[in-house]
């Protein structure tokens, strides 16, 4: 659907450098956000917000936060192509009032292409607090485009901004800004003549900055561009990209600096947080403390864990059960149980009632139970990011993670995955580069989640009865194993699948830390969670329904007996593989295979499946397994394939069926190998 079909009377492209307050302003201007397909030729979604103003509808397209227009990343290519070829009326360029010269760099690149621009001077209230005042009128006169001082948090300047956007959107904007480039001027001018058109100099600037792809798109061969760049090198002794950027920065100083007034001696303020986080050990410990506190707060709100675990350890079992019942996930589960029972009762039993209550509603319930966790986990990440703490933590932990090819940012997905792998995979978006992101996606499912904690505790209790010390040690070893697999898998993926050696490099701007905006945190988290519910929900519900049908129907039609269902045959085929490896009996092998299948839907159901099918609560006894077999299967269950929700999320994040299937295969092989090594070694040692 095109933007015009959405009823937009004015289309505004919103662009700015990272940390200039784009998300906050976008939220305040629009209040909501829709995803209207992808940017052309990419998998990056186009996010659009709307606002009624002056009798029309102003549509805002959220462009990626970038430092410059030279397209070396997907984000920069999207922004460049939207500006050059997109269907827009006016560009809203954000300049940070606390860093007016630095953040004008992107603006000056854009002004060389078009003057249909309105500039928002963001964070002006913060700038005033710091003693920096920016003269918007002087900048308007110097650069020929409107500058509007805005404070998104206070809502100041928004009406003026909207009025300017509508006004400029309906005008031609005039000729692009012309900047002299000294030693590179001759080359710019000659290339501009070849390119032609009103924005020729702006295009020439980008091409001589090294944007080869753009050059070829406008008919400038790579050879011709290289020849001109060499000429600049010979004349000036400097690389053309570096020379052009320096010239642009100097122009920013010449034009923007006179509009900046220091109200008092600015620049002396030092960030205590920066000082603490930059200390190697203290910073790393503080980062881990902040993340653990934040993430476990999220899990406590959702599921009661680890608060409930603490209550149980202290002997308050009933209190723990009350907390579990009234957590968000507990309430959602109770609601769907009630809905399922009511529907079954209304329909009076039978296949249809079972299908709707146990299949469709159960499928929706699984998604609904995940949704709050996803929302809260995303809110935690969003709050850390919005406050500026995220980059500080990434820096403090970089020393540890770089040993495994990751950057410090890889810590978020690890800790979030302890609760649930679904938001853990989503949190991989915080990665520095594409390879690192895929490394995290490939590794995150090894971190034992809460669902697996249930399986872990049940099996450990059965394998090592009556010895809490050994039980605790076993739990610790399983978690340590998960962390090691996470790190090793990330390293292997980076080295052998991506073919990259060394660690992800860290080049990260550190914004001044501040309190996060609750409005922005809620808005961005809700937007992402809603997206998850709609997209993952559709796929997951369909999957759950299919599995329900398989486990409730057989060759004779509907059956309430799992051992005569299609699932039995599928479970038997999995059990057939496991049987000789772990010396399982015929009776136990298909049940284990069936549990593996059910565990793919939701890991916490592994234990209940075994218990229900065998009709006893004793997991080991019910299957006739000895402790060594039980421990081997425990290892297998802990690390084998991601659950359906995680697998679906992995596919949504990477958009590759091949990658998702390969990852499922890899985790299956790794878990099977580890459990077999354990089993065979134990047998050899006569345990």
């Amino acid at each position: 659907m095109s933007l015009r079909e959405l009823g937009c009377s004015v289309v505004v492209g919103v662009i700015g450098q990272p940390n200039v307050g784009k998300t906050t302003l976008f939220n305040v201007l629009t209040g909501s956000m829709e995803r209207v397909g992808n940017f052309p030729g990419t998998t990056v979604e186009m996010k659009v917000g709307r606002r009624a103003f002056g009798g029309g509808v102003v549509c805002f397209v959220d462009l990626p936060g970038i430092y410059g227009l030279k397209a070396v990343s997907v984000d920069e290519r999207i922004a460049r192509d939207f500006i050059l070829y997109g269907d827009w009326d006016v560009l809203l360029v954000l300049v940070d009032s606390t860093l007016p010269v630095e953040t004008s760099y992107l603006l000056l690149q854009i002004l060389q292409l078009t003057r249909r621009v309105v500039v928002a001077l963001t964070k002006y209230d913060e700038a005033e607090r710091l003693g920096v005042e920016v003269d918007a009128d002087l900048l308007r006169r110097s650069l020929g485009v409107p500058f509007v001082r805005v404070s998104a948090l206070k809502g100041a300047g928004l009406s003026e901004l909207l009025a300017e956007l509508v006004r400029v959107g309906g005008s031609s904007g005039g000729e692009p800004l012309r900047i002299g480039f000294g030693a590179a001027e001759s080359a710019i001018e000659r290339l501009a003549r070849v390119v032609g058109g009103s924005r020729a100099r702006g295009l020439a600037y980008l091409i001589l900055s090294g944007d080869v792809e753009l050059g070829e798109r406008v008919g400038v061969s790579r050879g011709a561009a290289e020849s001109l760049k060499k000429e600049i090198l010979m004349v000036s002794g400097r690389d053309s990209e570096e020379l052009l950027a320096s010239t642009l920065y100097n122009f920013a100083r010449e034009v923007v600096q006179p509009a900046v007034r220091l109200l008092r001696g600015a620049g002396g303020e030092r960030s205590i947080l920066l000082e603490v986080f930059s200390r190697p050990i203290a910073g790393a410990l503080l980062s881990i403390l902040v993340l653990f506190t934040a993430v476990f707060t999220a899990f406590t709100v959702n599921t009661g864990f680890p608060f409930t675990a603490l209550l149980r350890v202290l002997g308050f079992v009933e209190a723990a059960e009350v907390v579990e019942r009234y957590t968000v996930s507990g309430l959602v589960e109770a609601l769907f149980d009630w809905v399922g029972d009511s529907v079954a009762e209304f329909l009076g039993g039978g296949f249809v009632a079972e299908f709707i209550a146990g299949g469709v509603i159960e499928g929706v319930a699984i998604v609904a139970q995940f949704a709050p966790l996803v929302f809260v986990a995303l809110a935690v990440v969003s709050a850390i990011e919005d406050s500026g703490l995220g980059p500080l933590m990434a820096v403090s932990l970089h020393g540890l993670f770089r040993r495994f090819g990751l950057s410090g940012r890889a810590v978020y997905p690890v800790l979030i995955s302890l609760g649930c792998n679904v938001p853990g995979v989503v949190a991989s978006r915080a990665a520095v580069d594409g390879v690192e992101r895929l490394s995290i996606v490939a590794s995150a499912s090894f971190i034992p989640c809460q669902a697996r904690l249930i399986v872990l505790l049940a099996l450990v209790g059965a394998i090592i009865p009556g010895d809490p010390v050994l039980q605790s040690l076993a739990v610790l070893l399983v978690y340590a194993g998960g962390f090691i697999l996470y790190l090793v898998t990330a390293l292997l993926f980076r080295r052998f699948a991506a073919g990259v050696r060394g660690a992800s490099e860290l080049v990260l701007e550190l914004p001044r830390p501040h309190w996060p905006s609750l409005r922005v945190v809620f808005w961005s988290s809700w937007s992402a969670a809603r997206h998850f519910i709609v997209r993952a929900g559709t796929i997951l519900v369909a999957f759950v329904v299919i599995v329900w049908i398989l486990s409730h129907t057989g060759f004779s039609g509907y059956t309430g007996d799992p051992s005569s269902s299609f699932a039995f045959y599928i479970g038997s085929s999995i059990g057939f593989v496991l049987k000789p490896l772990f010396d399982l009996s015929c009776e136990s092998s298909w049940v284990v295979g069936f549990a593996v299948l059910i565990g793919f839907i939701a890991k916490e159901n592994i234990i209940s499946t075994i218990a229900v099918v065998r009709g006893v609560g004793d997991v080991l006894g019910g299957l006739g397994l000895n402790p060594v077999q039980g421990a081997s299967l425990l290892i297998f269950f802990m690390y084998y394939i991601p659950c359906a929700a995680t697998a679906t999320t992995i596919w949504m994040e990477v958009r590759s069926v091949k990658f998702t299937l390969a990852l499922i295969g890899y985790t299956a092989v790794v878990s099977l190998t580890l459990s077999l090594i354990f089993y065979r070694t134990a047998l050899l040692l006569g345990v």
């Binding site: 410059g68 007016p100 992107l106 990209e241 100083r253 930059s278 660690a503």
Partner: protein
């Protein structure tokens, strides 16, 4: 002062960028952030894995950037000569 790697500059050191020996993509990222040849910077902090710098700005609140050790090792700097230093930290052109 001789030309040295940025990674060797102690906390509080004020230097000028002489050369950036990074691959094209990373160099572009740094240039876009304002870290070009001739830029004057102050090392805010340095530890075994990273270097945190502030780009000197006339407004007093320059951009703060964290660089991993590998990146800082490939940025060559020299001491700022107080007699020729532009108080605004302007770049050489």
């Amino acid at each position: 002062m001789a030309r040295v790697k940025l990674s060797s500059i102690q906390q509080g050191g004020r230097v000028r960028v002489v050369e950036i020996l990074l691959d094209s993509k990373l160099q572009t990222r740094l240039i876009n952030m304002g870290l070009t040849r001739g830029a004057t910077i102050t090392v805010i902090c340095r530890n075994h894995s990273s270097t945190i710098i502030m780009l000197n700005s006339s407004s007093g609140y320059g951009r703060t950037i964290a660089l991993s050790k590998d990146v800082a090792e490939r940025i060559i700097v020299e001491a700022v000569d107080p007699s020729t230093e532009n108080c605004n930290g302007e770049f050489q052109t």
